[in-house]
């Protein structure tokens, strides 16, 4: 018990024993073990989230290492979720890390949305994001969404029934193609966005602070500018509206 308290001593001063207990009882599912997912998962495991699902179908490439902080050269070629789980367990063996090497379709997203308290959208493509968004809305579970490109990134929290869902805001991107070749991105910019996503996830589990809900935080690291766009639900959204679809 003392060792556990030592492990969390610095954050206990912030969240208290009740907060630590809440984290230990929580389940979080992180979708995408790329740049955003690896750093977010690291912080969530370190903080002592009880169960952590990590989901990705891909293997580690050498070009991942500049931003995907859980992997090393020895992991190149390994399934990301296996390498990530091993590293996360080494950081905090008290966390039940569950690796799932699968391409995410609606049945898997729905299953994990049923099990998790918070869902983390760290995908690299909009089609998968929209699948997860649909599952989150149906299950009524909070969804922490983040995305990066080049020097830029954004984050928002979807609270089904209270805030716009991803379809409200980004429905147009549902079939947007992935980058041709490799997406341009700077490692630390991914880190900024992933850190904010992990912070929001912890806040949701803890019930502390004001969630980044109904607000789209936009980060421009080239100018080091943080701006906020207040976003609103649309009554005709076909995913999250209970009203008739009008368009």
């Amino acid at each position: 018990m003392t060792a556990v308290m030592d492990r969390y001593s610095r954050q206990l001063m912030v969240i208290g024993e009740e907060g630590q207990r809440r984290l230990g009882q929580a389940t979080v599912a992180v979708f995408g073990m790329g740049g955003l997912g690896t750093l977010a998962a690291y912080y969530l495991a370190g903080a002592g989230v009880g169960r952590l699902y990590v989901v990705d179908f891909d293997t580690v490439s050498i070009s991942d290492l500049h931003r995907q902080v859980l992997y090393a050269v020895r992991d190149v070629g390994k399934p990301k979720v296996e390498a990530a789980a091993e590293r996360l367990r080494s950081v905090n063996p008290h966390v039940d890390v569950v690796p799932i090497m699968e391409n995410v379709e609606l049945p898997l997203a729905a299953e994990l949305a049923g099990k998790a308290d918070v869902l983390v959208d760290a995908f690299d493509n909009w089609a998968s994001r929209h699948i997860l968004n649909k599952a989150a809305v149906r299950a009524g579970k909070p969804l922490v969404h983040g995305a990066v490109d080049n020097w830029y990134g954004h984050v928002t929290v979807v609270l089904p029934g209270k805030t716009p869902c991803l379809h409200d805001l980004f429905g147009r991107f549902a079939r947007a193609p992935m980058c041709v070749g490799q997406c341009p991105v700077l490692g630390p910019v991914v880190g900024i966005i992933a850190s904010i996503m992990a912070t929001e996830t912890l806040k949701l589990v803890l019930g502390m602070g004001d969630a980044l809900a109904g607000r789209l935080l936009v980060v421009d690291a080239k100018r080091m500018s943080f701006d906020e766009v207040k976003v609103a639900r649309d009554p005709s959204c076909p995913v999250c509206s209970t009203g008739p679809r009008t368009k």
């Binding site: 995908f123 947007a176 936009v218 701006d227 207040k230 976003v231 649309d234």
Partner: protein, 94 residues
């Protein structure tokens, strides 16, 4: 009160600024506003329009709502509105 236009990510690279305040003289449409901004900022029109339509990979929010759920490019823009123009930052990045 002018319209506040926010340029996100690569759109701000075209305009050279993150925010611009535009006097629309009461009321206009989004199409007219974007046409005006395209005259001011070379390259913007080619990025946000595909022919007469909004490009598939551009999102425009008016007061935080996607124009896809409003009236598209014919959405009315009034003094004091906030318009956000953004490309898809979709990477996670796997």
């Amino acid at each position: 009160m002018p319209v506040k236009v926010k340029y996100i990510a690569s759109i701000s690279e075209i305009t050279g600024q993150l925010v611009e305040h535009v006097d629309v003289g009461g009321e206009t449409t989004l199409r007219e506003l974007l046409a005006l901004l395209s005259e001011r900022h070379p390259g913007l029109g080619g990025r946000v329009f595909r022919g007469d339509a909004l490009a598939d990979d551009i999102i425009v929010l008016v007061n935080g709502r996607s124009i896809d759920w409003l009236n598209g490019l014919e959405t009315k823009i009034r003094e004091g509105d906030e318009v956000t123009i953004m490309p898809p930052a979709g990477g996670g990045t796997d």
